[in-house]
Each structure stands twice: as C-alpha cells, then as structure tokens.
Symmetry: C2
Subunit: 396 residues, 2 copies
C-alpha cells in the first residue's frame, strides 16, 4: 500500500511498459466510477502534442471515465501518426473501461519527435487494469514523472453542504517549468458534485495563481496540461454557481495547486533552493507580474542564488529590463528580511547576515516599488551545475 | 607595442588603478585630437548607471575630446553620489585633456551598488595620461573587460573620396550579452569626416544588426553603450547625407560590429560554441525575430548544444512559445546542413552525422517557416557548467 487518500469512486494504477529505457514506471491509468465532469487548461505553445490535442477535443461535452498518461515520449511532432496513435490508445482504454473513446483523456510527456510505442502501451494498459486500486496513487504519480526525483501528491478533506469531500492532486514538472504550463502535468481528482462550467472557472483561476506562477528555466513545452475530474460521489449539493460552497472548493483547490507548484520548483532540474519573488506596492497587477517574472527567469539571479551571493544588482537589473514602467529611484529590495537596497541605492548591509539567509533552502526576495497597492508572487529555483548536466544530455 | 592600428588623431592608454582586486587593468583612456563628432546607443533598461547617464547627456551637441571607461564597478544604484562621482571624473579628464567636462564621455561596467573609488581613478588618469599612444590600443581594450577572457578589437582601412580612412572598434561583453545592449560596451573610433547626424544614423542601424542580435543569457544590464567618435582627420569630403560614401562607411562599420559581436558571443561566460540561429521564409521580420530570439535565449536549447545533443524538439518548442504566429506543420529545421525535422515532423536522421556537426565550435541552426521571405539571424552560445560557476560567485 502506498499513496494518499483518493476521493470516492477513483482508482489508479502505474506500471512500467518499456517506454523508459531504465525500466521505471511510465504509464499511469486513472478510472472514475461513475464518469466525471471534467475541465482543463493547456499549454499556450502553438506547437501542441498529439495526445494533448486529443484531450482538448474529448473533454468538451463528455463525461470522463479514464485518463491515460505516459512518460518518456511526448507524442509530439510526429505527424498524422501521432493523432492516430492517440486515438488508438483511447480506444484500448475505452474497451477496458466500458466507455466511448471520447470519455478517455490522454497525456504524454517526454522527448519530442519519436513515434509512441503503441504496442507497449497496449500491453501496459492490460497489465495496469487489474492493478487499479484506491490506495496506490503513488504508482500513478511516479509513472508520470520524467526528470522529477520524487512523485508529488497532495490530498485535502473538507466539507461541502455537510458532506465530506476529498480533493487529490498529482503533478510532474522539473525543468521547463514556467508560466503557461511548461512540461508540466497536473491531475486533480475530487468526489465533489460540481458542474463542468464551475470546474472550468475554478481550474482557470487556480492555475493562474499556482502553476502559472512558477518558473524553473523559462521554457514552456508542447504537451502540458492541468485537468480536474469531479465525479460527485461525495453527495454534496451540486455546485452550479458561485456560492459559499464554490468558494470553499476553490480555496482548497488553490491550496492544493500552490503546494504542488512549490514542490515542482523545489524539485526543478538541479535545484537546490526554492526562491519566492514577491513584488509589492506596484501600480497595477501587470507591472507587478512583469517584474516578478523577469526576476524569476533571470539566469544571473538564479546562479547568484545558487552561489549564495546577495547580488541585488542583478535583481534590480532584471526589474529594469522587464518592460514594466517604474521609478528605479524609489525601489527597495529585501533578501529575506534584510534590506539591501533602499530607494534604488545599495546599502552597506551585513554580509554575514545575508549569507545566513542565502544558505537556507527557501529564500524570499521582496521588491517594493512604493507606487500603489498591487502585488505579484512568483516561485523559482536556483541554477546549478546539475541543471546543465541534466539538460546537456537528456535526449540521448 | 601592441594593438591594432588606430585611426589618425586618436591615442589610447589602459592602466590598473586598483578597482579590480586582482590588480588587472581597469581604466581605459581615449583621447581624440582634434575633438570628434560622436554618437551612441544605450541600454534600454530603465535602471541606468550614473556614468552612462553622464555620457547620454554630454554627447548631445558637444565635440568629444576624451573617453574614460572603468571596469570592476558599474557606478550604478549609488544615488546622487554616483552622479557627482561621474562629474568629478569628467572634470579630472577634462583638465588633463584641456577641454570642458562636457567633452568627456564616461563608461563604467562591473558590480552594481558600490560607490566608485574616485581617488583611484584620479590617480589612474594621471598615470594613464603620459602613456597615451597610437599603438597600445590593446591596453585600453583590456582595461574595459570584466569576465571576458581576452580583449576584442578590430580595425578596417578603406577609402572615402580618395582618402584613406580607418575604423577601429573595441568591445567587452561576456555574460548578460543580449539584445538591447546588455553588459556590453563598444567603442568605435574613426578618422572619417562625418556629421554627428549621419554618425547617429549609422550607429543605430549598425547596432540593430550586430550587438542587438546576440544573446548569451538573456539578461540586459544597466550600464551598456556603444559609442563612435569621428574626428575627420582622414580629410575625406565630409559625409552629411546618405550617399555612396555613407554607404561604404556604414558597410565597414557593420562588418566591424558583427565581427566584434561574434567575438563577444564566443567568449560568453563559459561558452564552448558559437550558435547561429537563422529563421527564414517568415511572413515578416518581426515573426522571424521573435522566433530566432526565443530559440537563442532558451536554456534548454543552449544546454543541448553544450551536450552535443541534436534535440530539435527543444528548438521547435522555443519557436512555439515565442509568441510568433506560424504554422507548426510546415516547419523545417536543419542543424548544420542536416535536415532533422520536415513539415513539423521529426526525421530519422543520421545521429553520427549530427554528432559530427555538433562537435564543431560553430553551429548553425536553420528554421524554415515556408510562409514568406522575411528572415532574421541571432548569435548565441551554449550554456556550460562554467556559466554557472562564473555567475554563482561573481560579486564576492
């Protein structure tokens, strides 16, 4: 037995079907009984993987019975064959689950440009089917990983109209994690009763303040998605509009998504530190976000954090080229709670104190623009030798 | 004796005045006799260094007699003191050169947020003055370096209205090299007779197709500038409008700037390879540039090149998230002359041939959109372990 508590009506399995050369788990299967309302958000990359395109089409107007996700191969940029491979996999899963192929969602993550080994996946699905279980979610969470070093899961229990509700989430990331979805897959399962419209609203808002606020290396990938399935088994009064229950649900969903997002950043390729970039007192949200995002993506800031170097000059530099309008002569910068730059001027701060802060696993950088009351937070990680090592030889 | 040929009327010197802790040269002095017409382009970062701001003001309407550039300290983000320090340095140089302080241009590059040691610079200028020479340009080119591993200079001789003209250029870069000027200083000197208006036109166009087309890590800095001085000593008919002589001058200037740009990229922090990204058959220049720039900045593409991995999936991914509109199903990608992706579909290409291409010091990546006839070229370098090493502990 392994894994967190799944919501009622869901079972998962994860097996190794031979896509990954090292024999690790590479195929996850999730089944919902009864079929679920579903919603998703997808990469904004204009190149989109074939499995992803299948999911984007099938999720519209269909209740979802099964989700199949493989790692090790992105099923992207392989032409018409990629689309027919996706359809074939959906058919196999549909046959096992006793549903139509359009009730099956797919995800693929891994290397681009190689056809999927569909036979392996077929064998894998037949192997996974009898293993479906309510208490082995970690098998599935492991099977969706690429360069992640550990599976990432969360679950929360809460109450809606007097009924006990569970929300479970798994995610994979590592490298390429960046706003607009990156090489990132997130799957949330809940037994709440909620309409697909409200589910879509909740997932759009949630992703915007969690997965779209993390950056590992600024690259965004072609196969990435966050989906949520809700099968109603909790028996709560169905949420069909914005109401107290909706707000409770959205809060928990947000908490789960932010928790997973931080786990993704901490496990970024070669990451040794989680860095939170908080821009405050901005004139508007867009300005705050431009600056937080520019700092979060700066290789020079990220290498300085790795080197435990309180080089705030790189922070103000990244703010300055972000495209945001602000007054550089009124900017304060804090590393942890140490003020290192006041009104755009460097302070003669205590280097020992700075080093103490920078040695920690989690570092908070605050940029105070003193212009208004808008704010934005991004999470990123440092750039280490291992980032280069991992990414210099990923494909081969 | 060292250095390339300087144009008539220019002398240079470079000394160590103690800003750099390791005792290396850190102060360059350039003098023009007679005073020069001048033009410049500057960082677009909204945070601007104090020396840079001095130069942006002084260059307007003044004939330039001297240029003083220090490395090791950016004279940025130190408040009003940074402005008065800049003025003081200009005064010292003006006294030596017998001109007004507004005929002195300044440049500073290095760490942000620490006041300049003006006394060191004063001593340094007095030491440099008697060393001014027509054949020691490399001393000056060395004194402007920060993490560059070697000084970068070019010179060209050509003919304008029957007179022999020389154009000399020096540049420093390394790290943070990126469009919109980055931590990059370029100084061009010529004895051509040309109006400041035509000089401004030439430098704006030239920088746009050279220094603004290189990317090392996507960061752009607060102190960077390219300037050109023209003292007219060649005795050619003064260029005051677009004409054959102007075109000849602009061509040579462009060639010099592209040569220096490629040298900057090759010497990027930790760089082992020069990568040329060529996007062709785009519907318009902006689309071509968005794509070339996105690929040039992608850490995943850059680490793949370091690892000699023909991972074209990362190239099409970076194109896809560039924000440009194109049809992914008509894209061809070549690494060197090897077609690896045709019509958006990966080919089963010869991996040995790919490795042979990727082992070389210079790699050309071509992305053919097959949509129109616009094109764009960017130059970048790979990301290596040494990039992280150099940037993890720069300030301390």
């Amino acid at each position: 037995m392994s894994g967190l508590m799944l919501p009622k009506g869901f079972k998962t399995a994860g097996v190794a079907c031979g896509i990954k050369k090292d024999g690790k788990k590479d195929l996850a299967l999730i089944v919902s009984e009864p079929a679920s309302e579903a919603a998703g958000v997808y990469t904004k990359n204009i190149v989109k993987g074939h499995s992803l395109k299948w999911t984007m089409n099938s999720i519209k107007g269909n209740k979802i019975k099964a989700v199949v996700i493989n790692s090790g191969n992105a099923n992207a940029c392989v032409g018409a064959r990629g689309d027919s491979d996706a359809e074939r996999i959906a058919e196999i899963a549909a046959e096992l689950a006793g549903c139509s192929k359009n009730q099956v969602l797919l995800g693929s993550t891994g290397v681009i440009g190689f056809p999927l080994p569909v036979e392996n996946i077929e064998h894998g699905l037949h192997e996974a089917w009898p293993q479906l279980s309510t208490d082995r979610s970690t098998d599935a969470a492991s099977a969706i990983m690429t360069t992640d070093t550990y599976p990432k899961e969360v679950s929360f229990s809460f109450s809606l109209s007097g009924k006990n509700v569970t929300l479970y989430g798994m995610a994979k990331g590592s490298g390429m994690i960046h706003p607009n979805m990156a090489t990132m897959i997130g799957v949330f399962l809940t037994d709440a009763a909620i309409s697909s419209e409200m589910l879509q609203k909740a997932i759009t808002e949630t992703v915007n303040r969690s997965f779209n606020r993390i950056s590992v290396d600024g690259d965004t990938s072609v196969c990435d998605m966050v989906i949520i399935l809700a099968n109603g088994e909790a028996g709560n009064e169905k949420i069909t509009k914005v109401c107290d229950d909706y707000n409770t649900f959205a809060d928990v969903f947000g908490k789960a998504a932010v928790t997973l997002s931080k786990m993704l950043v901490k496990d970024g390729e070669g990451a040794t530190k989680l860095i939170e970039i908080h821009v405050k007192n901005a004139p508007d949200n867009e300005t705050a976000h431009k600056i937080s995002s520019s700092i979060a993506k700066s290789p020079l800031v990220k290498t300085a954090m790795f080197g435990q170097d309180a080089n705030w000059g790189r922070i103000i530099t990244a703010a300055g080229y972000s495209g945001a309008e602000f007054n550089p002569d009124s900017v304060d910068i804090l590393i942890g709670d140490l003020l290192v730059c006041k009104d755009g001027i460097g302070l003669n701060f205590d280097e020992d104190k700075a080093l103490e802060i920078l040695k920690k696993d989690e570092i908070r950088i605050t940029v105070d623009l003193k212009m208004g009351d808008a704010e934005d937070t991004m999470w990123t990680c440092d750039f280490s030798y291992d980032y280069v090592k991992i990414n210099g030889s990923y494909r081969t």
